[in-house]
């Protein structure tokens, strides 16, 4: 089957007040050139800061930097179909789910719309209240299911939690979100490249080398180029191994059997897909860790096991 470029979609879930809206505005302010379409599946006030709004047309707000925001009430799939039809003007879709929505179910709905692909389910929790919420008579199972759906779990408002209880909280969360990587945050401030991965102008197109990310103390990246054919599945599995501790890895590789493939790893989930435009001369990979440095020797081991034995260059972050 011919490979077609697909629009990556991030599903953003979490209960009311966790910080989803703050995160959306943070992403829009640090879009890094991406044209983000925010899709709001909720009722009530629009989640966009006023100063970002440039205009309105029907149910679509035009935002600065080529971004848009659209509301579609309860008809999620109809909204997604509209966005898929605008794919040439959008680099990345962020769905802000309602407080009671199950983000995993929304992620599954993406397969109903041709041209969209799930990038990650990102769940935001309020570090201060999540345990209380999860014990709520009515909301308990909804919260638990939201946590279980997460690929990335943003443990927000970490500054409001006593330092000596953070470890216990994270252990509690890890138990309920077994497939997720945990990311600590204050005021939902998490780097866009961590939340959305490479997309838009940063996307790996197989021609230009990935640009080094702007770095903060909170996360670490490594960018790798290599020449040889690899075992892509083994590589993806290795990158998703919790022991390596990567939040994300993305790239394109020349698989020994299947040819050129894109590799996308988010937390413990990985996917391989045929490359739309297999013009690359070398494999490329970018790895991101959050809250800890990448263990270079462990990474080298993963590469070696996947038969990446001729690394051309490693570009650490400045």
């Amino acid at each position: 089957m011919a490979a077609v470029a697909q629009l990556p979609v991030t599903v953003l879930g979490g209960y009311l007040g966790a910080g989803k809206t703050t995160l959306v505005n943070h992403l829009l302010r640090h879009a890094g050139g991406r044209r983000i379409a925010v899709a709001v599946n909720d009722f009530g006030a629009l989640p966009i800061d006023k100063d970002l709004i440039e205009g309105a047309e029907g149910n679509v707000l035009t935002l600065s930097g080529g971004c848009i925001c659209c509301t579609f009430g309860s008809d999620l799939v109809a909204g997604l179909m509209e966005l898929a039809a605008r794919a040439d003007t959008i680099d990345h879709v962020v769905i802000e789910a309602s407080g009671v929505a199950l983000p995993g179910a929304i992620g599954q709905s993406l397969s109903l719309v041709a041209g969209l692909v799930l990038d990650a389910v990102v769940v935001v929790v309020d570090a201060e209240t999540v345990q209380e919420r999860a014990a709520d008579l009515y909301m308990s199972d909804t919260i638990t299911r939201q946590l279980a759906d997460a690929d990335l779990l943003i443990v927000n408002k970490i500054d409001l939690v006593a330092a000596d209880t953070v470890g216990r909280l994270e252990a509690w969360l890890a138990q309920r979100a077994p497939t997720a990587r945990l990311i600590r945050a204050e005021m939902s401030a998490v780097a866009t490249d961590v939340v959305l991965g490479y997309s838009g102008p940063r996307a790996l197109d197989g021609k230009t080398p990935p640009q080094p990310l702007h770095s903060t103390a909170a996360y670490d990246t490594v960018s790798i180029a290599f020449a040889e054919r690899v075992d892509a599945l083994r590589l993806a599995k290795g990158l998703a191994d919790p022991a390596l501790g990567l939040v994300r890895a993305k790239g394109f590789v020349h698989d020994a059997v299947r040819g050129w493939l894109t590799v996308n790893v988010v937390g413990k989930r990985y996917s391989l897909a045929p490359m739309p435009d297999a013009a690359a001369r070398a494999g490329r990979l970018v790895c991101i860790a959050h809250g800890r440095p990448i263990d270079r020797s462990a990474l080298a081991n993963v590469l070696k096991l996947a038969a990446v034995d001729k690394v051309l260059e490693v570009i650490p972050c400045p």
């Binding site: 209960y15 009311l16 009722f43 009530g44 006030a45 509301t71 579609f72 009430g73 309860s74 008809d75 999620l76 799939v77 109809a78 179909m81 309602s98 407080g99 009671v100 199950l102 179910a105 599954q108 709905s109 397969s111 109903l112 719309v113 041709a114 009515y138 909301m139 199972d141 909804t142 299911r145």
Partner: protein
């Protein structure tokens, strides 16, 4: 200022002071009084209208929960298992097999002239085909070139053919969604479950209007159906009510021969609590006699047969997860508080008992902030409430609108699969509601089940499933109670009991005109009562010529 006195074989008034009469006097669309001709002659010069002298009159029936989209459905091919009559009075025989469905669709297909026009059907219920699932291959027998889509009776599932899947770009491998079963070939079987799975297909098969919408001809068709069922007032329970729709409804409702009163509720969807309340207040000012606005509907959970209703412990009988919330407690609380403050009435859709419990909890807290003595907030469906919850409804001043039609159409499934025997027998506890003193209405949720309060009353009196099982004899109610419930009871939940629901001085001249006496025909035959037509606002509408 002309006075018309209608003579009838019997007039059932629902007015305890004069429960039966032979004559009713009408002026300006309102009732001057019910009594004997001698008594009523005192109102002065009059015309004696004897066309109903061998008919039974009762207060115009009130459908407390339906959707005007029923009028639109009849443009599609009826594929239901049970016989059902359309707005023109034609009865469509029920279809007892997949082959029969294919045959009726094929006949409709042959009559179509436009080659690419989709063929749409509705009311399919494969539960009755031993749960044999319908597939795209079945519908491909009707046509491989024309897109075909059939909505199920529940409104939650759609079947389509291969062409429709192809047009929606869904005849492809790699679809991974719980609402899209795949065949051995890895392609969708054509059964699309739930709104997400149905949406991509809707516009290709002519079924994208959703359950809520109606248009001008659909509204007129709905009103004609009302006449055939003896209904003079019907609630349209979940409408987005954009300005254009409100203008259309006001225009159509004002047509001299529009035969029904529609009470249309603004559903809380796509807007926040404050906006919804503001919109309801603005809409109320646009109400006319036959188009009433001003209340708000909130959908709290899903449906029992779709396993999306929120159930309390021990949950679903087959172990399915506890269902889905469609609103957060915070959003619900804000809406109820603002509504109490502004005097806007709220109707909440709660199918599961946990959803009902949440509304009771939230309203109790909201009433502490904004005490209100006559809010009449109404729990809609409320199918699984237990006795303790009915006692709380009573304490909080709530009304309930139960759904006895479910017993007939899905009662066997509820017993066997969804909630199990004990709760299936308790479902839609009309007797408990009445014994507890909770103001009661009962409804059809048309088009989910057929419009027809006398049939709904039969369901509440007999609680019989389609296989003949009596589902909880203890919750059966009397004919007398059932008839009060489909008139005054429903009117009370719509805050219209001072205008309609009984035949007595001062009220609207709204009557159901019947060929048979529902009080003597016998409870087991209540659904067989023949409807001649209605009188609405003093205007006479015969079902035969509507």
């Amino acid at each position: 200022m002309t006075v018309t006195i209608f003579e009838a074989s019997k007039i059932i008034t629902m007015n305890p002071a004069r429960p039966v009469a032979t004559h009713v006097a009408v002026r300006d669309g309102r009732i001057l009084g019910a009594g004997s001709l001698t008594e009523l002659a005192g109102w002065g010069t009059h015309t004696l209208d004897r066309r109903f002298q061998d008919k039974i009159l009762m207060p115009g029936l009130v459908e407390g929960h339906s959707h005007v989209s029923e009028g639109v459905q009849w443009r599609f091919v009826y594929c239901g298992f049970h016989d059902r009559s359309d707005p023109d009075g034609k009865t469509w025989p029920g279809l007892r097999s997949v082959d029969a469905v294919v045959a009726r669709l094929s006949a409709a297909e042959r009559a179509m002239t436009e080659p690419l026009q989709p063929l749409s059907g509705w009311a399919l219920d494969p539960i009755y085909f031993d749960n044999r699932r319908v597939t795209r291959h079945d519908l491909d027998r009707v046509s491989k070139e024309r897109p075909i889509g059939i909505m199920h009776a529940s409104g939650h599932i759609m079947n389509v053919n291969s062409k429709a899947l192809e047009l929606a770009q869904m005849l492809r491998p790699g679809i991974d969604h719980p609402g899209v079963p795949l065949g051995d070939d890895g392609l969708p079987t054509g059964e699309m479950k739930g709104p997400d799975a149905m949406t991509p297909l809707g516009r290709h098969v002519g079924l994208d209007r959703g359950l809520l919408a109606s248009d001008e001809p659909g509204l007129r068709a709905f009103a004609r159906l009302c006449v055939r069922k003896g209904v003079t007032t019907a609630a349209d329970l979940a409408n987005l009510l954009p300005d254009a729709a409100v203008a259309m409804m006001a225009r159509v409702g004002a047509e001299p021969m529009f035969p029904a009163r529609i009470v249309s509720l603004r559903v809380l969807r796509g807007i926040g609590p404050q906006e919804a309340i503001d919109h309801a207040i603005a809409l109320k000012k646009q109400s006319t006699d036959r188009m009433r606005f001003g209340a708000v509907k909130i959908v709290v959970d899903g449906s029992i047969q779709g396993f999306s209703a929120r159930l309390r412990w021990p949950g679903y009988y087959n172990g399915a997860p506890a269902g889905l919330w469609y609103v957060t407690p915070e959003q619900l609380a804000e809406t109820l508080e603002r509504a109490l403050e502004a005097g806007v009435q709220i109707h909440t859709h709660t199918n599961g008992d946990e959803a009902t419990e949440l509304v009771l909890d939230v309203l109790e807290a909201a009433l502490r902030k904004h005490p209100s003595s006559d809010h009449r907030f109404t729990l809609q469906h409320c199918q699984l409430a237990n006795a303790a919850q009915f006692r709380r409804m009573k304490s909080l001043g709530m009304c309930v609108n139960l759904f006895p039609n479910h017993h007939f159409y899905w009662g066997d499934e509820h017993y066997r699969l969804t909630v199990g025997p004990e709760r299936a027998e308790r479902m839609n506890a009309c007797a408990t509601a009445l014994a507890t003193g909770v103001p009661l209405a009962i409804h059809s949720d048309a088009p989910v089940t057929p419009l027809g309060p006398l049939f709904t009353a039969w369901c509440a009196v007999n609680r019989m499933t389609s296989s003949g099982r009596v589902l909880g004899e203890a919750e059966c109610i009397s004919v007398e109670d059932a008839l009060r419930t489909i008139t005054l009871g429903a009117a009370y939940t719509l805050k219209l009991d001072s205008e309609i629901g009984s035949i007595e001085v001062g009220k609207r001249a709204d009557f159901a005109v019947l060929e048979d006496d529902p009080t003597t025909i016998g409870g087991d035959r209540l659904r067989d009562v023949r409807v001649w037509g209605t009188v609405q606002g003093g205007r006479v509408f015969a079902a035969d010529t509507i």
